[in-house]
């Protein structure tokens, strides 16, 4: 079983180099981009009229509350512009034949009744269509037309006709749209088209469905109007939703002030029609919705009715605390029943249980059902077509040692089809799927890849500045507050501005295309886009400007959203004035902008992997199999890391067998160079060209590599409480696992055992959840029950966090008689030794909240679920690679949602428990993910660096070294010149933060694209208002 997937997926000679990705949600998009960037041709198939999936329906994402669409939309465009990706929307897979490396896929392109090449997305047809239908994008809470665009940022941004409601397609009664369309794009006689593809591998990323409470009328859903699902609520709070972000309730459109959320709807239940597993995401998304609701309207009282709070993810614990501490927010630990709908007010009463005060009934204006995740509706059909197996719950059956592998070689699975997963996990498994496809198809890398072609860059240096200003509505985000037409009118009066216009969503594909066109047609040589923060969209707009045929640095973003409409939402007039000021400043600066060149550098194809545990070895083997040279460093004498202390997983994997197999393969692989007992002394260089000095066995060696993966793992906390270290009957869960495996007398002879959870974490000192311990306790309890069923086992916990399918094992443990007692942080269990009748008894005392009594448990052993803590080497390593740690000491990824295995520093990647505590299978998934991302870089022959970096005017440099000492990136050095020592900037390392500019006493060092002149002009323009 171990590594079976890997062997089956090892590189083959006669494979095809194309990959089919099924499902255009976040995971499918990420897999496509990673594959395409790594040199494979990708067909991205989605059965919907546009890509985007569920994430496109979300307002914000936890735990950062970033705008979901703002993160997703650039990815859409990246996909649509990528020369190696063909997006096939409105298309279904009919049949798959062949085998790994050589599949023949038959597709059916459903008629959209709109000719894709002719439609411009002008929506005239939508305007004239007489048929109003509920809008599925808005959860049927608003109306759209039978012909419509899926949503404003859709890719492709063209209309489609819903055949079920179109009057012509039903009864041939109406064809207004045909006449209205000036482009002749409507074709009501379109037929389905068959298409055959030949691909080497397949990635299945069909996503999930939300649990449908309608069939059972859960909590009155479907009967009571003011009971809605969390996805309904997501649309309601979204600025692109049915009420443009105003929170109203369905019965009367009034603003609800008392909102209740009910958790676990459809999840954690063995009732017919429900799902036994935990859906993993609902606790966190509910907390997000509570925070957002309070943001929208402080007057809202939010009540969350829950069971265990499952804040098991990175920074989730703090996120929960943030929601819980808001004024007017209550978290009540009780499942509930609907009392009744009050006929006059349409309010809903909810009955909930208290520990000591009986059942209470309370009235709410709106009730949100936190619905769980279910497999995609067509999962069975998909499984049949692709010849893969499903698990008992209807999700994709995966290999326990490789959650990305399906039961059929060459077909991989990413995202929530694996089982409940949040966005970063779906991104990780997507990158991992790309890595596994790469492993299978390595021989074909780059053969089918196409280069992106840009128009030649026009030399405009001698021209007078001709500025175009595009003011974005951002749906309602800006437009509802700022008077956009008035800003446009104002902009057109500014000096040098020759063109000004509005944009509904400047970032949408058609708007961006239109901007490029205008640049060319009007001969613009400067572009200002007044929209959002440059943080996410600047690369996209630079690309847009480049498409217009001018240097991409002739562009500036005026942030009238974060800096204006969002913070001044209640002062519309003033906000409009401010938006004009911001635009004026931007235009002034833009006229002075200079064209900049980007630097291209070769890439060293080797990777350095730091940490020889499960994560590091998994990444290493995957990359080596794809032909990359791997240097694997391990600080101890042996490979294996923390996994050496694990013997079995909850799902029954023999960890040591897997580890032995993996270790053997790693040692034997000719492309992997293992160094044990290794310590990194120095890291120099930059993305694509690192030089790392490593000390091992008394020798210092130098390794040159293009990328690095940090997989240094984590450690077990050494408890300083509960008599640990004082009484040898008190041990940690890991120690217990070792003793169970060795069948030690202390364990086999134990009549009773108490496990205490959250030892050393979820505290003020370590304010995070160690994620794995609840499942570990259950795992060990079940293992013990197998061989010694009469041993009494009690687990004392705060919240059982057996998320996902682990919930089934939690129930199984209870079924086998394992007792569970919950404690509050202010009522921690007491472990003491008591002398009774000459015997030295180990006793645990803890209060039971339901009984209102303290329970005294005499026990033979106490096992402590000791926290997973960051590796002691993390800090040093973070300094060497200049990558950050988070507040808890774990490595901090570049972006919690979208770049979960990347660092802000280019060329350095992250996986395993160095990132955050995680389970065996999760670690493997992330290791493939990191490998996928690293390969993305290493498969390129060269990389480019931004032009917006510092440079030195050597005439003015006095070689004082102030710039060198303040640079956080070691980007500046001295070099000898004919005129003595002068500072010199390494443009690859420079991040363009400009700190040195402020330190330099002679203004010798300057930052391109942010020169003093440019900034002064901006300030002058600000003051001119």
């Amino acid at each position: 079983m171990a590594l079976a997937g890997l062997i089956a997926n090892s590189p083959k000679k006669d494979t095809l180099g194309d990959v089919l990705v099924v499902g255009g949600g976040m995971s499918g998009i990420q897999a496509s981009l990673d594959l395409a960037d790594a040199g494979f041709r990708v067909y991205l198939v989605d059965k919907s009229p546009a890509v985007g999936g569920k994430m496109a329906q979300l307002d914000k994402t936890f735990p950062t509350n970033d705008c979901s669409m703002c993160n997703l939309s650039p990815k859409f465009i990246e996909c649509s512009r990528h020369p190696n990706i063909d997006i096939l929307s409105n298309t279904e897979v009919v049949r798959v034949e062949g085998e790994a490396g050589n599949f023949r896929v038959t597709l059916n392109k459903k008629p959209r009744y709109v000719i894709e090449d002719k439609c411009t997305g002008c929506t005239s047809c939508v305007e004239y269509c007489p048929v109003q239908i509920p809008d599925p994008y808005n959860q049927n809470l608003s109306l759209t037309k039978a012909v419509h665009i899926h949503f404003s940022q859709a890719v492709p941004l063209i209309t489609y006709i819903d055949p079920a409601t179109c009057l012509y397609l039903q009864d041939e009664k109406c064809n207004i749209c045909v006449g209205v369309c000036k482009h002749g794009a409507i074709d009501l006689h379109q037929k389905p088209e068959k298409r055959e593809l030949e691909v080497g591998a397949v990635v299945l990323a069909p996503g999930f469905e939300t649990f449908d409470p309608l069939p059972r009328n859960d909590y009155g859903y479907g009967r009571i109007k003011n009971v809605i699902t969390s996805l309904d609520f997501e649309r309601i709070i979204s600025s692109t939703g049915p009420t443009e972000g105003e929170i109203t309730r369905p019965s009367d459109g009034k603003h609800p002030t008392r909102i209740a959320w009910i958790q676990c709807v459809g999840s954690r239940q063995v009732i017919p029609g429900g799902n036994s597993y935990c859906s993993s995401i609902c606790c966190a998304y509910t907390q997000k919705q509570v925070i957002l609701a309070k943001d929208h309207d402080e007057a809202i009282d939010a009540t969350v009715f829950h069971n265990d709070i499952r804040a098991f993810g990175k920074d989730f614990e703090r996120f929960y605390q943030r929601a819980e501490r808001l004024p007017g927010v209550r978290f009540i630990r009780s499942y509930v029943a609907i009392g009744r709908e009050i006929p006059e007010s349409r309010n809903v009463t909810i009955r909930y249980a208290t520990d000591s005060d009986g059942v209470k009934e309370e009235e709410f204006d709106l009730v949100v059902l936190s619905v769980g995740m279910t497999p995609p509706k067509d999962a069975r059909d998909l499984a049949n077509k692709f010849g893969i197996e499903l698990d008992s719950r209807g999700f994709c059956k995966t290999d326990p040692v490789n959650p990305i592998a399906t039961s059929r070689p060459g077909i991989f699975v990413s995202g929530a089809f694996q089982g409940p997963a949040d966005i970063p996990e779906s991104v990780v498994s997507a990158s991992g799927a790309a890595a596994l496809c790469g492993q299978l198809l390595a021989q074909q890398r780059g053969r089918l890849a196409r280069e992106r072609e840009y128009p030649a860059e026009r030399d405009v240096a001698e021209e007078e500045a001709k500025v175009g200003v595009f003011v974005c509505h951002c749906g309602a985000n800006i437009g509802r507050v700022v008077n956009v037409p008035s800003v446009v009118e104002f902009a057109s009066t500014l000096p040098n501005v020759v063109h000004a216009q509005e944009s509904l969503f400047a970032c949408s594909t058609d708007n961006a295309q239109q901007i490029s066109d205008v640049v060319r047609e009007k001969g613009l040589n400067r572009v200002v886009i007044a929209a959002c923060s440059p943080k996410t969209l600047e690369p996209l707009f630079r690309d847009t400007v480049r498409e217009g045929g001018i240097n991409q640095y002739y562009f500036d973003m005026a942030n009238i959203r974060e800096h204006c409409s969002w913070v001044h939402s209640k002062e519309k007039d003033d906000a409009t004035v401010k938006a004009k000021d911001i635009v004026r400043m931007s235009v002034a600066r833009t006229t002075l902008l200079k064209p900049l060149e980007e630097i291209s550098l070769p890439v060293n194809k080797a990777v350095l992997i730091i940490g020889g545990g499960l994560a590091g070895m998994t990444s290493a083997l995957n990359m080596a199999e794809q032909g990359f040279e791997v240097f694997l460093l391990e600080k101890t004498k042996d490979l294996g890391g923390m996994a050496r202390r694990l013997h079995y997983t909850l799902e029954g994997v023999d960890v040591q067998a897997h580890l032995a197999d993996l270790t053997g393969k790693v040692y034997r692989h000719p492309a992997i160079h293992v160094t044990t007992g290794a310590t990194i002394k120095e890291v120099a260089g930059y993305v694509g060209n690192f030089t790392t000095k490593v000390a091992a066995e008394g020798r210092l060696k130098e390794i040159r590599h293009g990328a690095a993966i940090i997989a240094t793992g984590a450690e077990e906390h050494k408890p300083d409480e509960y008599l640990y270290g004082q009484d040898d009957r008190v041990l940690t869960l890991l120690e217990l696992e070792g003793r169970i495996t060795r069948k030690e007398e202390a364990v086999t002879g134990a009549q009773s055992m108490v496990m205490i959870q959250c030892v050393g974490c979820r505290t003020a000192e370590r304010n995070y959840c160690s994620r794995v311990c609840c499942s570990q306790a259950i795992k060990n309890a079940l293992k013990l029950k197998e061989t010694q069923p009469d041993t009494e086992i009690t687990i004392i916990y705060r919240d059982m966090r057996t998320y996902g399918f682990r919930e089934d094992y939690y129930r199984e443990a209870a079924k086998q008689g394992v007792r569970f007692i919950r404690y509050e942080p202010n009522g921690k269990p007491l472990v003491e030794t008591v002398n009774e009748g000459g015997r030295n008894i180990l006793r645990v005392t803890v209060a039971d909240p339901i009984l209102g009594q303290k329970l005294a448990l005499d026990t033979d052993l106490v096992a402590l679920a000791a926290a997973v803590v960051p590796s002691s080497s993390s800090l040093a390593l973070s300094k060497l690679f200049k990558v950050p740690l988070n507040a808890d000491g774990f490595f901090q990824e570049a972006h919690v949602k979208l770049k979960p295995v990347d660092f802000g520093a280019d060329g350095v990647y992250l996986c395993g428990t160095a990132h955050y505590p995680k389970h065996f299978a999760e670690t493997i998934s992330q290791a493939y993910g990191a490998a996928g991302r690293a390969i993305n870089l290493l498969s390129k022959d060269s990389i480019t660096a931004t032009g917006a970096v510092c440079d030195v005017n050597e005439d003015a440099c006095v070689a004082c070294g102030a710039c060198i000492s303040c640079c956080s990136y070691d980007a500046i050095d001295f070099r000898e010149t004919a005129r003595g020592k002068k500072a010199v900037v390494n443009p690859i390392l420079c991040k363009g933060d400009g700190l040195c500019n402020a330190k330099c006493p002679t203004k010798a060092i300057y930052l391109n694209h942010y020169t003093d002149d440019e900034i002064d002009s901006q300030i002058d323009a600000a003051l001119a208002g």
Binding site: Q269, V270, A337, R351, G358, V359, A814, K854
Partner: protein
């Protein structure tokens, strides 16, 4: 806060007495929020389950006798705990120790009566068929289409004898060839079993089974959902399988096949109360509604809680024999639900429900009235 030590022996004892699923509880509180008791006073089933899981059950406590076995919490429990099974187990232990709190004391007399006379009322066994004397009901003989088993309440209770009479009238009208067992009939034993008296239940069940077999009974028509439940779901524990049909199902069938025809208008607004043992326990929701919707000239309305969510009358689980203070009667709340939807007649199909609702209807405030009728009593008026 008091400190106690979990007692494994108690947990084991509860398991031995039939409580098998209490370990599964994750204390979500669902049982408490759906329990009808919490509409009238505090009562925590969750606590009872918790105590069992930790071996801290209080066998002499009145709380273990509250559950009416209405079946709402086991139906909704996300973890699959069967609270009824646990309750019965605890009551078995209490019965074994003779630990009956004052309000439960009548059970002792009821048990004596059941053992001696086959009914809970201390009425003579010989008079069991007196209700049928003037109606010309035949004794059951092998080969008849149906055995009609009216049960204890319809045999002895003055109010419920009318239901038995109505049933006979209907069966005659439809030309059904049926008979009764009369004095040979014993209490079905369903409710006494729920009070924890397993031995007595077995005694009664064996008696009935013996009689059924001796008379060559194949199909049994019952008026009480409690008889229905035990014949259908519990007597098979004795390896016998009789065809059982509840009168509401049978009426629906008689109408559907044309053996009964509605000919007169009823002219009242009616609502229907799902008895726990007919609805939740045996999923018979549609048959009685099908019958009521055939009543000419009547208007049918649902109360706030119906079908699976029906509110218990308070009579199951042996509670029919215990005293419930006036302020704690679910039947009062239920009756108010019927009043709230403007019903004039509340129809049901269970002798316990009729007993409790009739009692509650006497306490309705001035100006409010509610007729409580068995489904057969309406049907007999319109055929």
């Amino acid at each position: 806060m008091e400190t106690v030590a979990p007692i494994k022996e108690i947990t084991d004892l509860i398991r031995e007495n039939g409580g098998k699923t209490f370990d599964l509880c994750y204390q979500c509180g669902t049982c408490d929020v759906v329990c009808p008791w919490n509409r009238v006073r505090n009562f925590s089933m969750r606590k009872i389950v918790r105590q069992a899981a930790l071996g801290l059950s209080e066998i002499d406590n009145e709380e273990i006798w509250r559950c009416t076995t209405c079946g709402t919490c086991p139906q909704r429990c996300p973890r699959g705990v069967n609270q009824i099974e646990l309750g019965v187990s605890l009551r078995r232990i209490a019965t074994e120790y003779g630990a009956f709190p004052a309000s439960v004391a009548p059970i002792v007399t009821v048990s004596d009566n059941l053992r001696a006379e086959g009914n809970p009322f201390n009425m003579e066994r010989a008079k069991r068929a007196d209700w049928a004397e003037s109606l010309g009901v035949k004794d059951y003989v092998e080969g008849m289409e149906i055995l009609y088993f009216p049960g204890c309440y319809l045999s002895y209770d003055p109010r419920l004898k009318k239901v038995a009479a109505a049933t006979v009238k209907i069966l005659n009208k439809a030309g059904v060839d049926f008979g009764i067992l009369g004095a040979k009939e014993n209490c079905c034993g369903e409710s006494i079993r729920k009070t924890g008296n397993e031995e007595l239940f077995k005694h009664l069940a064996r008696q009935n089974i013996k009689t059924f077999i001796e008379h060559g009974v194949k199909k049994i028509l019952v008026s009480s959902p409690h008889c229905y439940h035990t014949f259908k779901n519990e007597y098979p524990e004795f390896s016998v399988h009789f065809e059982v049909i509840h009168i509401s199902e049978y009426l629906s069938e008689l109408f559907a096949t044309g053996r009964l025809k509605p000919v007169r208008d009823y002219g009242q607004k009616i609502t229907y109360h799902d008895p726990c043992y007919l609805g939740r326990h045996n999923k018979i929701f549609d048959a009685p509604r099908d019958v009521l919707k055939r009543i000419p000239g009547s208007e049918f309305v649902e109360m706030q809680d119906h079908h699976e969510n029906s509110l218990c009358c308070g009579g199951g689980g042996g509670r029919i024999w215990m005293e419930t203070p006036k302020a704690e009667r679910f039947s009062d709340i239920r009756l108010k639900q019927a009043v709230d939807v403007g019903a004039q007649v509340m129809v049901t199909a269970c002798p316990y429900c009729i007993t409790n609702f009739t009692d509650s209807s006497l306490g309705l405030p001035e100006g409010q009235a509610m007729e409580i009728k068995d489904i057969t009593e309406i049907v007999q008026e319109i055929i």
